[in-house]
């Protein structure tokens, strides 16, 4: 089974040289720590940064320089700053090659829910709806089940949707899956996790073809 860092490391393998990448809050943010050697990607933060760098050294933090998670950050040489309209032009206009975000639920047709639990939690969608509605390449980082052990990979989302039929790939603590016309297609399983365990933890349709290799991180 993978922990959060393992999920981030596996997603980092999706990165390709020269890509512009938007990372959501939580596990997705960790992906920036595991960019494979020899490739260069540029991270976008939707509050107005291209070329987001590491956190500042203590004493060098600047309140004007934050990321979309409101954390203090730095800008790398070659980076740029822009306003929110321009930022979402990059996103909506499909100038960003990869979007990684978290989810509460994903359905086997690629629907995603991650912004609201009616009556309990209403924080808002932030930029997530714009991101999922426009990007071609959307990878979701999430736990396969909730704390009670219920599957978060469903036939149909129960929570209010963030986007419709938009997710391309899901990386969980148990598996890597693509969204295909017939549901989740199992590509890789986490170390020590059997295909049967993944089947048991997946409520949505799961296609398993041939031998399923272990995730290598």
């Amino acid at each position: 089974m993978l922990d959060k860092i393992g999920i981030a490391k596996r997603i980092a393998q999706e990165l390709r040289d020269g890509w512009y990448v938007n990372l959501g809050i939580g596990i997705p943010t960790l992906v920036a720590n595991y960019v494979p050697e020899g490739i260069k990607v540029i991270f976008q933060s939707e509050n107005g940064i291209l070329g987001m760098g590491p956190f500042p050294y203590e004493g060098e933090e600047d309140a004007d320089y934050i990321n979309a998670g409101k954390q203090t950050v730095t800008i790398l040489p070659g980076g740029s700053i822009f306003d929110s309209v321009t930022s979402f032009a990059m996103i909506r206009g499909q100038h960003i090659q990869l979007t990684v975000l978290g989810a509460m639920e994903v359905a086997d047709n690629g629907d995603i829910a991650n912004w609201k639990i009616p009556g309990k939690m209403v924080k808002g969608m932030g930029g997530a709806m714009d991101l999922v509605a426009s990007a071609d390449n959307i990878v979701v980082a999430m736990m396969h089940t909730n704390k009670r052990g219920d599957s978060k990979l469903l036939k149909k989302c129960t929570l209010p949707l963030t986007g419709v039929a938009c997710v391309s790939r899901v990386v969980t603590n148990l598996a890597v899956m693509d969204i295909c016309p017939d549901g989740f297609k199992l590509l890789e399983r986490a170390p020590g996790v059997s295909v049967d365990e993944i089947k048991a933890a997946t409520e949505g349709r799961l296609m398993v073809e041939g031998e399923i290799p272990e995730i290598r991180i």
């Binding site: 956190f55 060098e60 309209v85």
Partner: protein, 233 residues
């Protein structure tokens, strides 16, 4: 031409109960701190506030929420604020949550004379309820209307008495789009400079969009998530 006013109190003259305001900022970054304080002191109520976020409990728009001066919030993300959540769940506060890119574009559209536009964001979700859907290139889009405000209040780094503004870092965020959209736009800046000091090539908000400007004071510039790394020894 002189758009310079003395301070925040003078700048917010004319803001009355039940008006609609746009307020720049992302989280607590790039918010008009001085004008928010002045609005608390002025005690105007029934406000509709269009702002990406709603501050935190004791800072930013949270200060207006504490005093129950806001009737409605139009935002994209409102976590990090318990009083906000309480007022929303009890129904005291009306909340319109809209996707962040649509929020920015709706402000821009309001200032740019574009009454509405189509966007894919929110199609198939609660956000699309009651909105016209139209396909372009085989993909469904929803019609979003421009936002307007009686006053837009923005925060910039430097400005001059013509109203030209430049921002610092990602504190720019929603400020330029909102500056365009106010019937009256108030800019508070950290430093007023003489006309000509700002290079015309690097003006972010041209002065035409700004009606009042003043140099703010005592900026707290609070950081929500102070995150640092250790120096390698």
């Amino acid at each position: 031409m002189n758009k310079l006013v003395a301070n925040a109190t003078a700048a917010i003259t004319g803001i009355e109960d039940n008006m609609t305001l746009m307020l720049g900022g992302f989280g607590l970054c790039g918010i008009p701190e001085n004008c928010i304080t002045a609005l608390v002191e002025a005690g105007v109520t029934g406000l509709t506030c269009i702002s990406n976020n709603a501050g935190v409990d004791d800072f930013g728009l949270g200060l207006l929420l504490q005093k129950k001066q806001i009737r409605k919030m139009v935002s994209s993300y409102v976590g990090e604020n318990d009083e906000f959540e309480r007022q929303m769940l009890t129904g005291e506060l009306e909340v319109d949550l809209i996707p962040q890119g649509s929020l920015a574009a709706r402000c821009y559209a309001g200032g740019a004379g574009i009454p509405a536009f189509y966007t894919p964001a929110g199609y198939g979700t609660e956000v699309a309820a009651g909105k016209e859907v139209r396909e372009f290139n085989g993909k469904p889009h929803i019609l979003e209307e421009a936002l307007a405000a009686d006053f837009a209040i923005v925060k910039a780094w430097k400005g001059d008495r013509f109203g030209n503004l430049i921002y610092n870092g990602p504190a720019r965020n929603f400020n330029p789009a909102m500056a365009m959209a106010g019937k009256i736009t108030i800019a508070e800046v950290e430093e007023i400079v003489e006309p000509g000091e700002l290079d015309p090539n690097f003006i972010h908000t041209p002065g035409v969009f700004v009606q009042r400007i003043f140099q703010g004071s005592n900026y707290e510039k609070r950081i929500e998530q102070r995150t640092v790394r250790q120096r390698e020894s």
